[in-house]
């Protein structure tokens, strides 16, 4: 009798362990039933929320790591927006991939989610935009370089390589691209500014800080 209980207990523990292991290995298949919406935009498959999660304004950027206008916005406009709105808790920020410019674009987006598995998404995101070169698909974002960026950030390379080589996040990136197309976004960077009462403003292109300021100030 005791042996049966012991055997049953071990079986349950093994089953629970297997379920946990299975869930962990399928982080790529995010639970769509828990759809994270900001205004009309599904950000479930996008980045985590950067900044105050309870902020009244959410800025959603649709971008491509090989897009030079995204690079311009990242270096020229984003720092001031963060300084005045995100760091002060008035707004938060989400990045969603619209990886369309070249063959290395989807791979770079997938790599960012592999870094997210090790809680380094935003660090990796910043490294990609800091390392962008002026030519699309010239090799600066090929698999070897993406792995080198991960190595420099001190990520567990066995986990990262396995994640990138298996294209674990391919569907996640494709979902984000389809979400962008659903909202008729036809270029990068494109932004949605979501206000406290669900107001939505779309900004197309790497527009200057003054445009973002004007829209966000009207929402606060």
């Amino acid at each position: 009798m005791d042996k049966r209980i012991l055997f049953g207990g071990i079986t349950i523990v093994v089953l629970v362990g297997l379920v946990a292991l299975f869930s962990a290995s399928n982080v790529a298949d995010r639970d769509l039933s828990a759809n994270r919406m900001h205004g009309s935009v599904s950000t479930t498959m996008g980045s985590s929320v950067l900044g105050n999660p309870d902020a009244t304004i959410t800025i959603i950027e649709f971008g491509d790591y090989q897009c030079h206008q995204c690079y311009n916005w990242f270096h020229n406009t984003k720092p001031t927006i963060f300084q005045n709105y995100v760091d002060t808790g008035k707004a938060n920020f989400i990045f969603v991939d619209l990886a369309f410019l070249g063959r290395d674009s989807p791979k770079a987006a997938q790599a960012s989610y592999c870094a997210e598995d090790q809680e380094k998404y935003w660090e990796y995101h910043d490294v990609l935009y800091a390392s962008q070169e002026s030519q699309i698909d010239n090799g600066w974002a090929n698999s070897e370089r993406l792995k080198a960026f991960a190595f420099n950030l001190g990520l567990d390379m066995d986990l990262f390589n396995e994640c990138l080589d298996s294209e674990k996040y391919s569907k996640r990136v494709q979902y984000n691209i389809s979400e962008a197309k659903k909202h008729e976004i036809n270029g990068t960077p494109s932004f949605f500014i979501i206000g406290p009462n669900g107001q939505e403003h779309q900004i197309k292109g790497a527009q200057p800080y003054s445009v973002f300021k004007q829209i966000m100030d009207s929402m606060i």
């Binding site: 206008q69 369309f100 410019l101 036809n186 445009v211």
Partner: protein
């Protein structure tokens, strides 16, 4: 050279044509290259690191606004061939195309429509945007000098006749 310019632009019609070409070319190139935005507000800016690209656009617009009216003058007043005119238009066109294909709606439409081939073409035009613009400016400079030279000769012949 100045005499030739005076000859062409002493006619007010060609001044108007030059101004129209300059404004249209400058405005459309600045729009395509995201120096100017119309929505949600009309706003212009020159991001750090893009000053050289901006100056190439201005040069391209100035040269187009000189070369095209001068060739229109050659064709309509002196009844000469359209060969140099096509050189000027070609130079303006490739200079414009270089900036149009990037992350913006034009590049997106090309990639969405033509797939891998579109992506390759768009990448090429984006990667070599600056060299292509410089080449277009070079072409327009050549067309400008040959037009000025031929106008000098053709005008002398016409005066003698």
């Amino acid at each position: 050279m100045i005499d030739t310019l005076k000859t062409v632009f002493s006619n007010f019609r060609y001044v108007v044509l030059a101004v129209i070409i300059f404004i249209l070319m400058l405005f459309s190139l600045l729009l395509l290259s995201e120096y100017v935005f119309l929505e949600p507000y009309v706003v212009s800016h020159i991001p750090d690191g893009t000053e050289f690209g901006f100056s190439l656009i201005v040069m391209l617009s100035v040269l187009s606004s000189l070369v095209i009216p001068m060739n229109v003058y050659r064709i309509s007043t002196l009844k000469r061939s359209k060969k140099k005119m096509s050189g000027g238009i070609f130079g303006s066109f490739i200079g414009a195309a270089a900036g149009a294909c990037s992350c913006g709606p034009v590049g997106f439409a090309i990639i969405s429509t033509f797939g891998t081939v579109g992506a390759t073409a768009s990448s090429f035009l984006t990667n070599f945007e600056i060299p292509i613009r410089i080449a277009a400016i070079g072409l327009l400079v050549v067309v400008y000098y040959t037009t000025v030279r031929s106008l000098k000769i053709e005008c002398k012949i016409n005066h003698k006749v």
